[in-house]
């Protein structure tokens, strides 16, 4: 009986340490995306490049999409931009931009100067579409599969390490999954 009394605080302590260990490793400011494994919400938005064109869920079907939320006023977006350009040129993957609360003129100017990695760019001037996706910080990058289901969301600028060791393997998995 004595042993149990001594053991109990120790067990509690170890449990606490475990919880702290798991939680302290995570950034408290990051919220998990609530769309993982859920279908992309129905949307219809204007294209940045050609305002008469609409971009909808139809554009997502059949291809793996990387939706990148960015803006010219966001420093992190500028740092990840060259990586987006170098990103895979696979026929099964398309990179879609979501220009968040930005000026169309600024955005187009930026892209013509720094290069355009995007197949389509959504003009989300007021951030309304981003709000449907639960976007709370730029840049944010979503990985969406061929059936328009969100599979992964990363908040923050992409890094080479992240792309090579996290994003690309996930894409490869999705490619295998469909075939």
């Amino acid at each position: 009986m004595i042993r149990l009394r001594f053991l109990l605080p120790l067990i509690l302590f170890v449990t606490l340490v475990l919880f702290f260990w798991l939680s302290l490793g995570k950034d408290p400011n990051l919220l998990p995306s609530f769309f993982i494994d859920k279908p992309v919400p129905q949307f219809s938005a204007r294209s940045l490049e050609d305002p008469s064109q609409l971009i909808t869920n139809e554009n997502l079907k059949g291809k793996i999409s990387i939706v990148n939320v960015w803006a010219t006023w966001c420093d992190g977006c500028q740092s990840e931009h060259p990586l987006l350009i170098d990103l895979i040129n696979k026929p099964s993957v398309q990179v879609i931009g979501l220009n968040y609360k930005d000026k169309r003129v600024d955005a187009l100017q930026y892209l013509s100067k720094m290069g355009n990695p995007y197949k389509y760019i959504i003009d989300d001037k007021e951030g309304k579409l981003a709000m449907q996706f639960g976007v709370y910080g730029t840049p944010e990058t979503f990985l969406i599969d061929q059936n328009a289901i969100v599979r992964y969301c990363y908040v923050g600028p992409l890094t080479l390490d992240l792309i090579e060791n996290d994003l690309l393997p996930r894409i490869a998995k999705l490619e295998k999954g469909s075939s």
């Binding site: 009394r5 408290p28 400011n29 919220l31 609530f34 609360k101 449907q132 639960g134 709370y136």
Partner: protein
């Protein structure tokens, strides 16, 4: 002299006679004071996900302004408080509520402290009783 003072007194008091049918919070106009109260209340219950210790009323973050506008629009469109909260929780998670809903996951969060308290009190009571027993055992 007296009549001049009286005159200005009346004019001044007219400034205090406001009949406003619109309640204004910041730039948001509500026709019904109930809606205004709901707006106020909801904002205080919703966390700014960018500046996470502030509620939507306090935060100056641009996203907070957007969410405020969204809450305002939804109130005007007739959505209930529950519907508005669900809309936001579906996109930003339980974390956006300062008082998370009670469900399987937040169950631990809500009951944890209670269980902890009850547990510690129980342990203290048991050990005090044990000590008493051993004391009385020694004395007898």
């Amino acid at each position: 002299m007296n009549s001049i003072i009286k005159f200005f007194g009346i004019v001044l008091s007219l400034f205090y006679l406001n009949i406003s049918f619109a309640d204004i919070i910041d730039n948001y106009h509500f026709v019904s004071p109930i809606e205004a109260k709901r707006f106020d209340h909801l904002l205080s219950e919703l966390r700014c996900v960018v500046c996470q210790n502030q509620n939507l009323a306090e935060s100056h973050a641009p996203l907070a302004q957007d969410l405020k506008k969204e809450v305002y629009n939804q109130i005007r469109l007739g959505y209930s408080d529950t519907q508005i909260k669900n809309f936001l929780v579906n996109r930003y998670g339980e974390y956006i509520l300062f008082k998370p809903n009670m469900n399987r996951i937040t169950f631990v969060l809500w009951l944890g402290p209670v269980i902890f308290l009850v547990g510690s009190v129980a342990i203290v009571l048991i050990s005090v009783r044990r000590q008493k027993k051993s004391h009385s055992a020694e004395n007898s």
